[in-house]
Point group: C2
Chain length 336, copies 2
């Protein structure tokens, strides 16, 4: 099959082989797959992930980019072929799945999209575990269903924050995760300020119903010095933004860190101590949160379609990657 392969730091379309589906596994024909900022970071900083690998606790730990990795974990696919013992699914069923392969026959579980053994969904086919499949409602377009995964990431951040009552929160970053976080927060009745240096993203945030969209490079400090937010969602994940979040949040406040900063970062612990802050790092989601995200997209409670600014073909995918930082793009989706 054709797929985009990451080798070292190069992204190229290649012909790759697909492993046969093991017991309980299903081969899906990929219909759409969102391009995730983490993949961009991963392609750029994969060497750095060896560190997480050494810690033996990371979910992004079992890939070897030198051997070639097909990324892609925000996918929707059509059931195409079955491994042994799979029941309840028919060829052509549209499904999404958490990007995890359940352990099978003594083999440990793996993440889909960060594995050297199984390809992720930046290719024509993907292997999934039948137990984890969720049926996509007919009304939901392919490319919107592909938002289930980032939508669950955002829901998880909001659920982990466990805000006791409607309040005013700051979301840093109006990329897909920041905007989806803002949408879940709005659904829960909170007042949401979003900050992003890119004007088109701030405009998009406003049309999505975010209360205030501000430019952190010019407006941040003035806005927050009077009544700083109790909770800040850090959805950027580049060097320096964690410290910025610590500066914006109120005394005794919390920073929910959803942005994945791949590099070593610098903070001023004295500020965090003086302000008695809590930094809560979050990752992933539960099966429940993934299921709820699919439902919310299908019911329009989360207007996912409006975050998608562009679809690309597999051949256009390698070039689309460096373009992700383009402020005129928000979510870009690979579509077959």
């Amino acid at each position: 099959m054709r797929a985009m392969v990451l080798r070292g730091r190069d992204l190229k379309i290649e012909e790759v082989s697909l492993p046969a589906p093991g017991p309980g596994q299903v081969v899906g024909r990929v219909l759409a797959c969102g391009i995730c900022g983490s993949d961009l970071h991963y392609a750029r900083f994969a060497g750095d992930l060896r560190y997480a690998s050494r810690s033996e606790r990371g979910v992004l730990s079992n890939a070897d980019t030198a051997a070639g990795v097909v990324m892609g974990h925000e996918f929707v696919a059509e059931v195409f072929e079955f491994g042994e013992g799979v029941t309840g699914w028919q060829k052509g069923d549209r499904v999404v799945s958490m990007p995890i392969l359940a352990p099978v026959g003594g083999k440990p579980g793996q993440s889909i999209g960060y594995s050297s053994e199984y390809p992720g969904a930046y290719g024509e086919f993907v292997i999934m575990s039948a137990l984890l499949l969720l049926r996509v409602p007919d009304s939901l377009p392919d490319r919107t269903a592909a938002l289930t995964e980032p939508c669950a990431v955002a829901l998880h951040a909001v659920r982990e924050a466990a805000l006791p009552a409607p309040t005013e929160v700051l979301v840093m970053g109006a990329g897909p995760i920041g905007l989806l976080t803002a949408l879940w927060l709005k659904n829960d009745g909170h007042r949401v300020i979003i900050s992003d240096p890119a004007e088109p993203r701030r405009r998009l945030a406003k049309t999505l119903g975010v209360d205030i969209a501000l430019d952190p490079t010019s407006e941040g400090s003035q806005v927050f010095s009077e009544r700083p937010p109790e909770v800040v969602f850090e959805c950027v994940g580049i060097q320096g933004t964690l410290q910025e979040a610590m500066e914006h949040v109120a005394r005794r406040g919390r920073v929910i860190v959803a942005g994945v900063c791949m590099l070593e970062d610098r903070i001023r612990p004295l500020l965090a101590i003086n302000k008695h802050l809590t930094l809560q790092f979050v990752l992933g989601y539960s099966a429940d949160e993934f299921t709820e995200s699919l439902a919310a997209l299908a019911e329009g409670r989360i207007p996912g379609e409006r975050l998608i600014t562009r679809s690309v073909s597999l051949d256009e995918l390698p070039a689309a990657f460096p373009d992700l930082a383009n402020p005129h793009d928000c979510k870009v989706v690979l579509q077959f």
Copy 2:
């Protein structure tokens, strides 16, 4: 009066004037004052604190070391003279106080020991707010009563951690704050592992009833790789120890950061994200916690006396400062 003055980074005994006590204030003759690691950091890195000052939220923010600061905030004193309107106290009463001066006559509150206007207790006299005074029980020796403040710091860290049930915790650092934290945790029924590179401090920890005292430079990783602790108390506060705490703690664990790192520090957010960690920075204590600490020292529930390895005179104080890192010392107390 004679006092040790910090000017820039120099510590010298000087003759300084004591402001007259304002309404509601009391002049105390200092009996003893603990030497705090924060003061050592402060003397070394005072320039850096301008940063906290800019944030306008720090408690250590209102001093100008160029103009001269008399530090010292872990004190016990004898009531010596009264300002207007003070009742209920007699000359000679032994007291401790949280190191705070309440606002008076339109003047904002100040911290005692980090102010350019009022001297702290590294001198013969200190000014206190009558409202905050606590009577020291007769049975409690001066130098042990001087431990009330660090004892409250440790109690606050333990209370903020709000451990739901007896568990196994790691305390990093067997200095006074680490040991006092360990003692409060033992009082609450937890199993406590303490880590410190200094053998004499590990030995002291063992005699105080800590379950395991290990050397992080040789034993840390092996001990924790099997069953990492859910909660780690970071009581060191130097560059790198926060990252170490993140490495030791279990997935979904919490690091309670009680060590005050004055300098910019480096962390790997990816590790915190992959492990879904919470970093909880804590500072200070409540009036209740301060009161409880005094009671616990008086009743022997916290055997404070055993942490004190040495008393020094005012003239010996400047030389005692750089010596604080001496692994054979634990708590050093200025005694008059």
